[in-house]
Symmetry: C2
Subunit: 197 residues, 2 copies
């Protein structure tokens, strides 16, 4: 991968590290931890600790209501932050699933809406310093309601329809604490995606 | 914490989990992993795996150049993504340091600029599902150049001054791969912070 990257940006080879080995040092059902032995641009060896996990999808569902266009969001307890969080639906890919299918499934399961159209907003690293996976952002519209959510037995997820401006303005304080939802807003804003629906 | 949260949002107690115990199962110089035993709103026990780390600061430095207002950014190799990333400066708090001091220090060390003014943009969880720490976002301006960067021996960080629109438009594809930089853009945009400089 370093070779590919160096080839893509030949002016930056003096910044590129080479990976020589990886060793798994911890696993859980959600992620694993690897120690990666790397050589610096000056050929010095170093070990870095990296978290690997399946890729995720985050999907921004836009619903047309009597009040205009609004976001369909989910409120749930988050065990890392020990706090309730109001978020766009999303989750990890299932085995063999592509990004768009994961986004459509998470939308159906968590919110009980089926999207007529799903459009990619971009792909990022949730934290390229310490995480190896990617997060795939989507915009969903032409929403049709389904019978009910399809939650796991230990999922407690409440659906809320929220004015778009409340989310843009609220980001960075509770219940809008999830930084990656801010990333979704930035990707939405960049192409004025909301105005092209 | 669950009690505090429940008190803050009394209508949502049916979504709140109670933590009963935590156990450290892995440590590295960068983060530790804990297994947390929790009770669901229906009093069912579950174990969740959570990554804990010091809080981070991310600082958006705005420089006035002959071309207008631009961002001061840093290009560096990221060992999780195995890729070069063009980012706002930032890093973990040092022991005893507060968020603003960490932001000012990271700005100085990585970019060789001292900020005359640093303003908070908000606080998020980088990933509230699996991470316990917080990320603190700042806007920095009135920038004065210093002599040189102050990098660790294994840091290879190149400073670039980038037009603001290039960053907003580029987010979600290389070299703008870092999702938390998108979060910073969303927080910047929400109060039209850039237009109040």
């Amino acid at each position: 991968m370093d070779t590919k990257q160096a080839a893509q940006e030949p002016g930056n080879t003096h910044l590129v590290w080479r990976e020589e080995a990886r060793r798994e040092v911890f696993t859980s059902p959600i992620f694993s931890i690897q120690e990666r032995t790397c050589r610096s641009p000056d050929n010095e060896p170093r070990i870095f600790t990296v978290l690997d996990a399946p890729d995720w999808a985050i999907v921004v569902p836009v619903l047309t209501t009597p009040r205009g266009k609004e976001f369909v969001m989910v409120r749930q307890w988050r065990h890392g932050a020990q706090e309730l969080s109001l978020e766009f639906p999303g989750g990890v890919f299932e085995k063999g699933e592509d990004a768009r299918a994961a986004a459509a499934r998470e939308l159906r399961e968590e919110t009980a809406y089926e999207a007529g159209t799903i459009r990619s907003l971009g792909v990022c690293s949730p934290n390229p310093a310490i995480m190896a996976n990617r997060v795939h952002f989507f915009l969903a519209f032409d929403l049709k309601p389904l019978e009910a959510q399809a939650l796991d037995e230990d999922e407690y997820v409440e659906v809320e329809v929220v004015p778009i401006q409340a989310v843009f303005q609220g980001m960075g304080r509770p219940p809008y604490i999830h930084a990656l939802m801010g990333s979704a807003l930035a990707l939405l804003g960049k192409g004025d995606s909301l105005f092209h629906l």
